[in-house]
C-alpha cells in the first residue's frame, strides 16, 4: 500500500515538475503544449526506459524550439534592418522601396504572429512641424502598400518622428539621404 502511495506522490511530483517546465518554455510555439501530456504517463516497470525516451524527446524538442527561435529572430532582425528610402520632400515609394516592401510583406505573410510599427523619418532640412507630417505621410505610404499586398491593417501601426531621430548625423547629402526613411519595429503577438 505504501509503495502505491509513493508512486502516486512520485507521479504528482512529475506532473508538478512538467507543469513548471511548461511555464518556463517560450509561449511562442503552440507545439509546446502537447509535450506535457506525453511526459506524464509513467508505468511502474518502464520508468527508466520511458524517462530516457522522454529526455531524448525533450532534447529534440529543445533543439527544434531553438532552431525556430533562431529563425524568428533572424526574420525580425531582417525586418528591422531594412529601411525604405525616400526622395527629398516626397512620400511616394520608389521602385527600390517597392521591391523591398514586397520582401517585407513576404516575411509578414510567413509569420502571422508578427505585428509591426512603421516609423517615418525625414532629413534635417525644413521645419519640425512639416517634417512630422512628412514622416507620417511616409509611414502611411508604406502601410498602404503592405495593406495592398495583403497584410491586415490591424497588424501595422504608423508613427512619425519627423527629423528627431536621424540615422546619420551631419549636413551632407549622404546623411540627408540616409535619414529620409521609414523603418520597422517588430512585435511578436
Amino acid at each position: 500500500m505504501k509503495s502505491i502511495y509513493a508512486l502516486l506522490i512520485a507521479g504528482c511530483v512529475v506532473i508538478g515538475l512538467t507543469a513548471c517546465s511548461k511555464k518556463k518554455e517560450p509561449v511562442v510555439d503552440p507545439v509546446v503544449k502537447e509535450t506535457p501530456a506525453e511526459a506524464v504517463a509513467p508505468e511502474q516497470s518502464k520508468v527508466n526506459e520511458d524517462s530516457l525516451a522522454a529526455l531524448e524527446r525533450e532534447r529534440l524538442e529543445a533543439e527544434r524550439l531553438e532552431a525556430a527561435r533562431k529563425k524568428l529572430q533572424e526574420m525580425m532582425d531582417r525586418l528591422m534592418s531594412e529601411d525604405v528610402y525616400f526622395d527629398f520632400d516626397r512620400s511616394e515609394l520608389t521602385e527600390e522601396a517597392k521591391t523591398l516592401l514586397i520582401q517585407v510583406g513576404e516575411v509578414l505573410n510567413q509569420e502571422p504572429r508578427f505585428t509591426i510599427t512603421v516609423e517615418g523619418h525625414t532629413d534635417a532640412r525644413g521645419t519640425e512641424d512639416y517634417n512630422l507630417t512628412l514622416g507620417s505621410a511616409r509611414s502611411t505610404k508604406v502601410k498602404e502598400f503592405l495593406s495592398a499586398y495583403g497584410i491586415a491593417a490591424e497588424r501595422m501601426e504608423t508613427i512619425s518622428f519627423g527629423e528627431e531621430k536621424p540615422k546619420q548625423a551631419g549636413e551632407s547629402e549622404e546623411a540627408f539621404a540616409k535619414n529620409r526613411r521609414a523603418n520597422f519595429r517588430v512585435n511578436v503577438k
Binding site: G126, E128, D129, Y130, L132, T133, S136, E144, S160, E164
Partner: protein, 431 residues
C-alpha cells in the same frame, strides 16, 4: 560706339529690372524704422560700499532693454551731459539711484528726465534683493516705453525654448533677454514645440515620452502636468488662441495630418480642415477670427488662410517651393514665416494678402521658428549662423539682430503673452 552706348545702357537696365522681378529684392539688416534717441546715465550707488552685481549693473540692464525693444537709439554718457545729449537729439534720459535697504535688500529709484528742462517725467521705486534687481529695471523700462510710445514694452515678458541638455531636447523658460534660465522638463525623451498658455502660467509642448509625438501641458511654477487631447495618438504644432486660450493643433488620424481646435480644460476638440492633403503649423489672427496654416495640397508646403470655423480657405504664398510656419503679428498687419531656398531656411514677412514680401535673414546659416513679441515690434528666432543653434532677437524689419543665448544648442523660441493685467489694459485702451 557713342550712339550704341545709350542702347546698351537701357538694355542692361531692362535686364536688371527683369532680374529683380525674378528674385526677391531686399535690404537685409537696414532699418526702416525710426528710432528715438534716449540718454542713459549710470545709476548712483551708495558711497563707501560697492555692490556685487550678479551680471550687469542697473544702467547696463536698462541699456540692454532699451536697445532690445527696437524703439530707441542709446546715447550712453558716464554722467549727465547736456551738450552731448542735446547734440544726439536725446530729448529724454534714464537714470537712477541705489540705496541699501533692510534685510539685505536694495532700494532702486528709477527716473526718466526731460534733457533740456530736467523735468522729472517718471519715477518708480523698487525694494528688491540684489538677485531680483533686473526684474525691477525691466518693469521700469516697460513704464518708460508706455510713457513715450503709448504701448506696453516687453522687457518683463519671457521666452520658452528648446535646449539640448545632456543630448536630449528639453524645454527651458527664461526672461526675454535670456537671463534667469530655468529647465522645465527633465525627461529622457525629446520635448519640443513649447508655447505659453494664455495666462503665461503653463507651457504646452510636445513630448515623445510614449515614443510618439503627443501634446502635454505643464505648470511652470508647480511642475504638474497632463496629456492633452488623448483621443489622438499623435498630436503636435500647438497654437494658443489670443482671446480664449483654446488650442489649435495638428493631429495624425487615419494616416493624414489635419487641424483641430480644442479646449485644454475640457479636452474636447473638433476638426477644422477636411482636405485630402496634410495641414500643420496653425496660427491665429490677433482677434482670432482667422487662422493661417501650412498645407501641402499644392504638392509642396505653402501658407493658406481660412476663417476660424474652417471656411473660405485661400492660398497666401506663391513665391518659392517651401513656405512654412506662418505666424500673425499681434499688430495684425504682417505675417512672419520661414522659407526654404537651396536647402537653407530663412525668415520672411509679408502683408496679410501675401504681397510685399520682405526677407529678414540671409547668408547666415539656417534661420528658423520666428516668434513675435507681444507688442509686434520684435521677432525671436533660432539660427545656426555662429556654428551652433542659438536664440536671437531682431526688429520686425530684420535689423538690430541680438544674440541672447551663448553655449549649448538652443532652438524654437516662443514669446510669452503680455501679463494678464496688460492684456486687459491694452483692450480697454482700444475701446
Amino acid at each position: 560706339m557713342n550712339k550704341l552706348f545709350p542702347f546698351v545702357f537701357f538694355l542692361s537696365m531692362a535686364i536688371q529690372v527683369f532680374a529683380s522681378i525674378d528674385t526677391i529684392a531686399v535690404d537685409v539688416g537696414i532699418s526702416v524704422f525710426k528710432t528715438m534717441p534716449i540718454g542713459v546715465v549710470p545709476f548712483t550707488e551708495p558711497s563707501g560700499t560697492s555692490l556685487d552685481w550678479p551680471d550687469e549693473k542697473p544702467h547696463e540692464v536698462a541699456e540692454r532693454d532699451l536697445n532690445l525693444s527696437g524703439r530707441f537709439e542709446i546715447i550712453s554718457v558716464p554722467k549727465f551731459d547736456l551738450v552731448k545729449l542735446s547734440r544726439a537729439r536725446a530729448k529724454f534720459y534714464v537714470t537712477g539711484k541705489i540705496e541699501k535697504a533692510l534685510n539685505n535688500k536694495i532700494k532702486i529709484d528709477c527716473f526718466l528726465y526731460a534733457t533740456q528742462s530736467k523735468d522729472l517725467i517718471l519715477a518708480e521705486s523698487y525694494t528688491v534683493s540684489l538677485m531680483d534687481f533686473r526684474k525691477a529695471v525691466h518693469q521700469f523700462i516697460d513704464k518708460v516705453i508706455y510713457q513715450l510710445w503709448g504701448v506696453h514694452g516687453v522687457a518683463s515678458t519671457k521666452l520658452a525654448w528648446v535646449s539640448k541638455i545632456d543630448g536630449v531636447k528639453q524645454i527651458v523658460v527664461a526672461d526675454y533677454d535670456g537671463f534667469h534660465r530655468r529647465q522645465l522638463t527633465f525627461d529622457s525623451t525629446i520635448s519640443m514645440m513649447p508655447v505659453w498658455s494664455h495666462d503665461n502660467e503653463r507651457i504646452i509642448f510636445v513630448s515623445f515620452r510614449n515614443n510618439k509625438p503627443q501634446l502635454y501641458i505643464k505648470d511652470v511654477a508647480t511642475g504638474t502636468q497632463k496629456r492633452l487631447f488623448k483621443k489622438f495618438e499623435q498630436t503636435f504644432s500647438p497654437a494658443v488662441n489670443p482671446k480664449t486660450g483654446e488650442i489649435l493643433f495638428s493631429a495624425i488620424s487615419g494616416g493624414k495630418t489635419d487641424l483641430y481646435v480644442g479646449d485644454p480644460e475640457t479636452q474636447q476638440s473638433r476638426r477644422l480642415s477636411f482636405l485630402k492633403s496634410s495641414q500643420t503649423s496653425p496660427s491665429w489672427s490677433p482677434n482670432s477670427s482667422e487662422i493661417i496654416f501650412t498645407s501641402d495640397r499644392g504638392g509642396s508646403p505653402q501658407i493658406y488662410v481660412m476663417n476660424s470655423d474652417g471656411t473660405d480657405m485661400r492660398r497666401m504664398t506663391f513665391m518659392g517651393r517651401y513656405n512654412e510656419r506662418a505666424s500673425w503679428a499681434p499688430t495684425g498687419d504682417r505675417i512672419v514665416y520661414t522659407s526654404m531656398d537651396d536647402g537653407k531656411m530663412n525668415i520672411y514677412t509679408c502683408a496679410i494678402d501675401g504681397s510685399d514680401i520682405v526677407q529678414l535673414t540671409s547668408n547666415s546659416g539656417n534661420n528658423e521658428r520666428p516668434s513675435w513679441s507681444p507688442d509686434g515690434m520684435l521677432i525671436a528666432f533660432s539660427s545656426n549662423r555662429s556654428g551652433s543653434n542659438q536664440i536671437y532677437i531682431m526688429r520686425r524689419d530684420g535689423s538690430n539682430v541680438t544674440r541672447i543665448t551663448q553655449g549649448g544648442d538652443n532652438t524654437a523660441p516662443t514669446w510669452s503673452w503680455y501679463p494678464i493685467e496688460n492684456q486687459t489694459k491694452q483692450k480697454e485702451g482700444k475701446e
